[in-house]
Structure formats: C-alpha cells, structure tokens
Symmetry: C2
Subunit: 153 residues, 2 copies
DNA sequence: TCTCTATCTAGGAATGATTCCTACATAGCA
DNA sequence: TGCTATGTAGGAATCATTCCTAGATAGAGA
C-alpha cells in the first residue's frame, strides 16, 4: 500500500516514534510490498533515495518499528530475518523451491487453540502457522527439469 | 527415550546412515531429551563421552540425520537453530520469557489446510504451528517482579 | 520561533553461529 | 581382510547482526 509522507508521520507519532527521512523511507518500502524483504533488501531499496544510509540504521529502525507494533518479523526456517509491514493477524505459505512467502488470511486459522491438557499451564498470547510446499512456478520447473536434462545429453 | 546402541545401529542402517560412535552419541543425546537442544548444547553433552569431538562433526551429523529423516530442525523466532529427535508430526508451545519449547500433540492441528482461494496454486506438503505465550514459571516470575521492585525502593 | 537534549545516524569494529577446507581415520562392502 | 567412499577434527572463513562512538537532528518546552 502506497503511503504519503503525511500518513507516515501521523502513524509514527501515534506510536511515539520519531520521524526521520530514513525511517519514513524504510517503512514506505516495507508498506508497499507484499514480498517480506530482508533487512539487506530494504537497505538496497532505500539506498536509491538515501545513498548515505547505513545498514545499521535499517536494523535499528526495524527494531524500533517492531517494538512500536508497526512492523513484524517473519522467519522462514532458519534463513535470514524477513520483515512484514502487514501487522494484521495472518499466516504464511512458504515455497520450498524459491523461498517466496505468500500471505494467508484465513479467519479459521486465527482461532486455533491448544487443549487444556496440552497447554501445560502456559498462558498463550498468539500463534503462527506456516504452510510449506511448492509454488506454481516451482512445480512447473520441477516437471521441466527432467526434460531439460534429457536435452543436455 | 533411552536407546541402546543396537537400536541406534538398526535405525541408522535402515536409513542408510553410517554408524560412528560420535553419531550414535549425538542421536542418543537428542533422543533422550524433550528439550530441543541447540547444536552447541549437544556438543557440550556429547563432549563428556567424546572429549575430542568437534563442533563441525555435530553440525555435519545433524545435517546427515536431518536428511535421513531421523531428526528435525525447529526454529524459535530467529534464535539459534534447535533440534528435535521427535520426528512424528507435532507442534510447539514457545515461552516468550525463558524460550523453552514444549511439544504439542494434537490431531486437530495436524489437519489444517488452506482454502483453495488462498492457496495460490501452491502444492502444500506440510505445515507448522507455533503457539507463543508464557509458561507457568514465567507467569509467576512476572507477578513477583513488581513486589520485588517495591522492596528495592 | 529558538534552544536544548535525548535520540538518531553513519561508519566501522566486534560477535558468534554456521559453513568451508583439508589431512588423517574408518565403516562397511565385496 | 583390503579398499575406498565417507566421516572426523580442527582451524579458517563467512556473513548476518550487534556493538560502539562521534557528529547530527527531532521535537518538547520556553
Ligand atoms: Mn505477511
Ligand atoms: Mn518437538
Ligand atoms: Zn517457488
Ligand atoms: Zn518460561
């Protein structure tokens, strides 16, 4: 979602976050994509408008925005951290082939609970569901692969 | 679950995994705990019986066992990798206070699916559910904390 | 509008989990 | 039992993330 700088300013101030050009650009970049970028990808994107920005600022800002609840961290397996500007409750579909992450909004998934017998006295505040599989593109690539290797001989 | 070395030998060979003392010890350590240890914790444990073992062997072995399907990797947020000797389908409860991971076996959770509308052409092979909250101990610690800070004044 | 200070930023160094490299050892097939 | 593909130890390398610090600046208050 495209946000103008006034929107961002209001949203930041509502969460007591100081507004700087760098922060606005980082948040902007995250808000207008659904691709769950890494800190480094955000750095590369923001660097086009702010050539002097440092990686440290990107990490620090993501930490600030996360604590303010404006951003969330998403983790695929044990790969590098990925970030999500969508802080509504939702879940993810992860491609084992190309690592892409796709949002899943499904009210039923938001209602999951653990039976008391299994809860072991935990007070549960939330949960996260990850579906693992292959995207349409990667399924096609797999079908094509044997044909290609035949041609290689 | 305590396994004798014959059990381990049989299990390894069934999966075409070569048997070495180091591997058996690593697998043993993992099989007899429910605590989802890190590679380094396994290294420390196994080192008691095998003082010369290297961390590299632990990592390499965990990779081999994982590919053989004898072990799985569990990831809590973005912390260090944790390993699980329980390869049956199950899910986890994670304490935000002390990071402990507790198994949840719940048939209903194993049946989750994504609606076709949301699946975006993915072929889904599996899923993982993480519940986040505070364990009984950490809930108590939180209640005690304000009292302690009152005393501190 | 101006001032003051807590907080930010840039840049570079440090950290630490994991992977890479390599020479020697060994599991297990035949 | 011998042979060879594979495993092991140990050290170096990698690289995402965090730490440190000196100069900049947002924004609260006057
Ligand atoms: Mn998302
Ligand atoms: Mn488990
Ligand atoms: Zn894919
Ligand atoms: Zn706890």
């Amino acid at each position: 979602m495209r946000l103008n700088s006034q929107d961002i300013h209001t949203r930041f101030r509502r969460h007591a976050v100081r507004v700087t050009r760098q922060r606005a650009a980082i948040y902007q970049a995250l808000a207008e994509t659904t691709s769950h970028p890494t800190a480094n990808e955000l750095y590369q994107t923001v660097k086009r408008q702010h050539p002097m920005i440092s990686r440290n600022t990107v990490y620090y800002t993501l930490g600030v925005l996360r604590q303010a609840g404006l951003v969330q961290e998403v983790n695929v397996g044990h790969e590098v951290a990925r970030f999500d500007g969508n802080v509504t409750v939702h879940h993810h579909l992860i491609c084992l082939g190309c690592s892409q992450i796709v949002d899943v909004m499904d009210e039923a998934l938001n209602q999951l609970a653990v039976s008391d017998g299994q809860a072991r006295g935990f007070r549960i505040l939330g949960h996260r569901v990850e579906f693992h599989g292959y995207c349409a593109g990667c399924q096609r690539a797999k079908l094509d692969a044997p044909q290609r290797s035949r041609q290689e001989h």
